[in-house]
């Protein structure tokens, strides 16, 4: 019989063993009887000769090699029975464990999905990201990495034999045509090889072919599954039908699968059909991303060597644009921004809560182990090995841990979706967050680690003691556990303090940030990206006219007080940084200071409520042909002109070869967010009139424009009226990405608010658990000291004295915890300051408040057992001896 059969057919084996031995005894007895021994005596002799059937059976079981499993099973049943018999302990322990491990599992599930889940492409491990890299020169805005220029991509794709390469470029636009309303969608221009390279096959129709991917080819596009359902109801007849994208009718040739969510694109077009000027230039980098995959049998190193050869060739051929410019291929990683640090921070915080839960359970188990000392000693005396006893202890904690872990896993399964939904600003790659085998493995590992943590204390203590001492000592064994119990209380206080101080720092930060003036009046302002009619955007005069029309029409909407155009809305992710200087000659490129450039229309100050400090803002007379004017903010006025009056001074920018004349100074706007602006690299700001933007830039600027509206009423009620009023003659102008300025300002603090809410919850939980722990430990220790208190009271001590005794004991433990916690809190403060904008070192008031918040409940928790101890009746207590 194999080992497994011996495990699984345990009952049958027992039965056969029983029969075999019975046969032996019967046969022996029969022989003896035949020789004249009386039957009873014969049976006795037979049993004697065999050496006791039960002992023989035990030894037969031993040779099966399944003994440990039987023991384990026995221990598990014992542990479960024990838990059932103590519902109070079981409930508290399981609940705390479930909460702790559940929260930890949620965080791990999110980390697992966001940071570790592979990209949703075929063989994601071999995909490469290729970028241009400048050697020697490092631009302080962009570092040394650049998006590809299109001609460079074409040359690499042709020359590099060892790589399959595909390119994509963001290209949002307006979809109109079919029956539904025009809408603004995210889009991508992709090269024909991109989808096959990624292993993405269309779910209907076809993918692009090389013939689509060239200038002058028939306009075709692939739509996302989402757009397919939204505009075509998922009908197969969508393939081959026409749809207007950016004023050009396109034929739909395919539908991308729902899993294809690159840049949220709803519309894919062939990049080769883009014939705008920048696609032919090598010295501009219009956001073209390049992904690649080594061909079978080639390595990354070979590919890189080939890329280097191509780069050297291009540098020789086009020194103007390509000198010192290389191409670098690296494994492709998911882009998740700085979410990782926040996730690890939260995992760290919940781990602390879990640790407190473990310490709590450890102290409960230890108290119980002390109570069971005599039982344990008795069993040891009866022959149970020390290892066997330790194994039983650990099995009990493992059962407890796994039960808690299982509950926690259920909790996590229910909580992970709501948690992801609460993530401020949307969690990147949240569609990859799911409970998979890694999460299960993590939950089990965490449960077992916890079990080891809280199961070890009684074992360590038990093996340190001598059992005969336990048998003799009776009730006075408590001294042995006092030190461990003190350590537990101190650890809980320390851990809770780390969380409380962190939460306190975040609260302090938010309170400070809320009181900061963002530099704009955020109430009653609506902002929205806007796309004017795709038919006019390419013609500067018509585009300008369309924008003038937008402003005029918006004014007719009731409730609109002022309206302006702006390309970089404050506290949204818009960003146009330009170098500047105040006197020729033009400084070297890397040495120019940078300013945030805002292209606006005259009512902008009124809309935003930005104060005018000196001079004037723009008006209708600032137009193409008149003197080019600029308004700077007070920070830039100080940086550029110091104490001198900036009005009338000249300012050169990267935008134009000619200088602008400063006509006004306005207040500083916290463009990068209320919290982040202080630490931002670029704080200088200037404004220039959209009316003076040269014709050559009008198209690009029009694509980037937003409108900002100051309203008399709730701004959100004006969204529909404005949408309607601004649709334009062809009905193809759309508003998208619409927010109130209020929302944008709040969103810049969303990370801090979210973290504060979570840390406050964790800290509250930690405080509660720590207080329960303190209460439990002191109630236990005080209970053990009842005979001592009885003696003291009999000798004349008052109830007050006893309370003092207990409180002294507790204060010593709490004090120890505070000292340890101060160290932990200091470390946590450093981490928070590094990872969260706007967090400063904790102020003394914060420290005092959080310490009080921790110490007072802890002292109260120890006061209750102290008072009970003080009411001990001396006689009863002494009799307990």
């Amino acid at each position: 019989m194999t080992w497994w059969q011996r495990v699984l057919r345990r009952g049958r084996m027992e039965e056969l063993l029983e029969r075999e031995l019975r046969f032996h005894l019967d046969a022996h007895t029969a022989d003896l009887v035949a020789r004249g021994v009386p039957p009873d005596e014969a049976r006795r002799l037979a049993r004697l000769a065999l050496g006791g059937p039960e002992q023989v059976k035990e030894r037969c079981r031993d040779v099966r090699g399944t003994r440990w499993l039987d023991d384990l099973w026995q221990d598990v049943r014992y542990a479960l029975r024990d838990l059932r018999h103590r519902p109070g302990f079981a409930t508290v322990a399981l609940l705390t464990l479930a909460l702790g491990s559940g929260a930890t599992t949620v965080m791990f599930t999110v980390i697992n999905g966001v940071l570790f889940a592979p990209l949703p492409f075929a063989d994601p491990g071999s995909l490469l990201n290729v970028e241009e890299q400048t050697k020697g020169t490092v631009d302080y805005r962009f570092g040394d990495r650049w998006a590809f220029s299109y001609p460079n991509f074409l040359d690499c794709r042709r020359e590099v034999r060892s790589l399959r390469m595909g390119a994509y470029r963001y290209n949002g636009g307006t979809v109109s045509g079919s029956s539904a309303d025009p809408e603004r969608v995210d889009g991508l221009q992709i090269s024909a090889e991109l989808l096959p390279l990624l292993g993405v096959a269309p779910i209907a129709g076809r993918t692009f072919v090389a013939d689509d991917d060239r200038p002058g080819a028939e306009p075709v596009l692939i739509i996302s599954s989402r757009l397919w359902r939204r505009r075509f109801g998922g009908s197969p007849s969508a393939i081959g039908s026409k749809i207007v994208f950016d004023a050009t009718p396109h034929t739909i040739v395919g539908v991308a699968p729902a899993s294809f969510t690159l840049r949220n694109a709803d519309v894919l077009t062939p990049i080769g059909q883009n014939t705008l000027g920048f696609m032919r230039a090598r010295d501009v980098h219009p956001g073209i991303g390049v992904w690649a995959r080594p061909r079978p049998g080639t390595t990354l190193a070979e590919a890189q060597a080939e890329l280097d050869v191509v780069a050297r060739g291009l540098a020789a051929q086009y020194p103007q644009s390509n000198a010192g410019r290389g191409f670098i291929a690296e494994p492709l990683r998911p882009a998740v921004g700085d979410v990782g640090s926040t996730l690890w921070l939260l995992l760290g915080a919940v781990s602390l809560v879990l640790l407190i839960a473990c310490v709590n359970i450890a102290s409960l188990l230890l108290a119980r182990a002390v109570a069971r000392d005599r039982e344990t000693a008795m069993r040891a005396a009866l022959g149970a090995g020390r290892g066997r006893l330790a194994r039983q202890h650990l099995t009990e904690s493992a059962v407890l841990g796994l039960c808690g872990g299982a509950l926690g896993l259920l909790l996590a399964a229910a909580a992970v979706r709501p948690f992801v939904a609460l993530w401020p600003g949307g969690l990147p790659r949240s569609n990859r967050v799911e409970l998979d085998w890694r999460v299960f493995a993590f939950a089990i590992a965490v449960s077992l680690a916890c079990a080891l943590l809280f199961g070890l204390a009684p074992v360590v203590r038990a093996s340190a003691r001598r059992m005969e001492q336990a048998l003799r000592a009776g009730a006075r064994t408590v001294t042995a556990s006092r030190r461990l119990h003190s350590a537990f209380v101190a650890a809980e206080i320390a851990l809770a303090m780390v969380l409380l101080v962190s939460a306190g720092m975040l609260a302090q930060t938010l309170m400070r940030l809320w009181s900061i003036d963002p530099g704009v009046d955020v109430r009653h302002v609506l902002t929205s990206r806007m796309a004017i009619s795709p038919a006019v955007v390419g013609d500067p005069a018509r585009a300008r006219a369309a924008w003038r029309d937008v402003l005029d029409r918006a004014h007719t909407v009731p409730g609109v007080r002022a309206i302006a155009m702006v390309d970089t809305v404050p506290m949204r992710s818009g960003n146009n940084q330009l170098g500047w200087w105040t006197a020729p000659p033009e400084p070297e490129r890397m040495k120019k200071p940078l300013a945030l450039a805002n292209s606006v229309t005259p009512e902008y100050l009124a809309v935003m409520g930005i104060p005018l400090r000196r001079g004037r803002f723009f008006d209708e007379h600032d137009r193409l042909g008149s003197e080019r004017v600029v308004v700077v903010d007070e920070v830039m006025a100080q940086d550029a002109f110091g104490a001198q009056d900036p009005i009338g001074r000249r300012l050169w920018t990267d935008l134009l070869p000619d200088p602008l004349v400063v006509v006004g100074v306005v207040g500083h706007v916290r463009h990068w967010g209320v919290a982040a602006d202080d630490g931002a690299r670029v704080r200088d700001q200037f404004y220039y009139p959209f009316a003076q933007v040269p014709d050559g830039y009008v198209r690009r600027w029009s694509e980037l424009m937003s409108i900002a509206v100051r309203t008399d009423v709730d701004p959100l009620t004006l969204v529909e009226p404005l949408r309607h009023a601004l649709r334009g003659a062809a009905g193809d102008q759309v508003l998208y990405a619409t927010n109130t300025l209020d929302e944008l300002a709040a969103a810049t603090l969303a990370q801090q608010r979210f973290l504060l809410a979570l840390f406050a919850a964790f800290a509250g939980l930690a405080l509660l658990l720590a207080c329960i722990g303190v209460y439990g430990v002191l109630a236990y220790l005080a209970g053990q000291r009842v005979p001592e208190f009885g003696v003291r009271i009999a000798l004349g001590a008052t109830g007050r004295d006893v309370i003092e005794l207990v409180m002294q004991q507790s204060a010593a433990m709490i004090g120890l915890g505070l000292v340890a916690g101060a160290g932990g809190a200091w470390a946590a403060a450093r981490v928070l300051q590094r990872l969260v904008d706007g967090v400063r070192a904790p102020e003394p008031s914060t420290l005092a408040a959080t310490t009080a918040l921790l110490v007072l409940p802890a002292l109260f928790a120890s006061f209750l057992p102290a008072r009970r101890a003080s009411r001990v009746d001396a006689m009863t207590a002494l009799r307990q001896e």
Binding site: L21, H24, A27, L50, D62
Partner: protein, 118 residues
Amino acid sequence: MAPETSAKSDLPQGTLDLLILKVIALGPVHGYAIAQRLQQVSGDVVQVPQGSLYPALHRLENRGLLAADWKDTETGREAKFYRLTRKGRSALHAETASWRRLSDAIAVILRMSEAGAE
């Protein structure tokens, strides 16, 4: 333990398996018969502990040296009959050979020490 058996020598370590295999090699046999036969064969010289017999049988079965079938005895009762497997037979040969070598070597040594004492 009965007093009349206490004078017998204990079985040397590891020889019980060899004896069991040898007995079973003569043909399928149940546990009680093995015990009896060992008793008879070894007579008054060697004490065969009956209590060790069954754990040893089960161990040999688990190691695949023995196989067992439940069959009726001549008295009509069902008993567990052990027989040698192919593996058991080769183990018996190997064990026997190594036991012979050992006992020969010990005999030689014992003779030498007698000669030295003269």
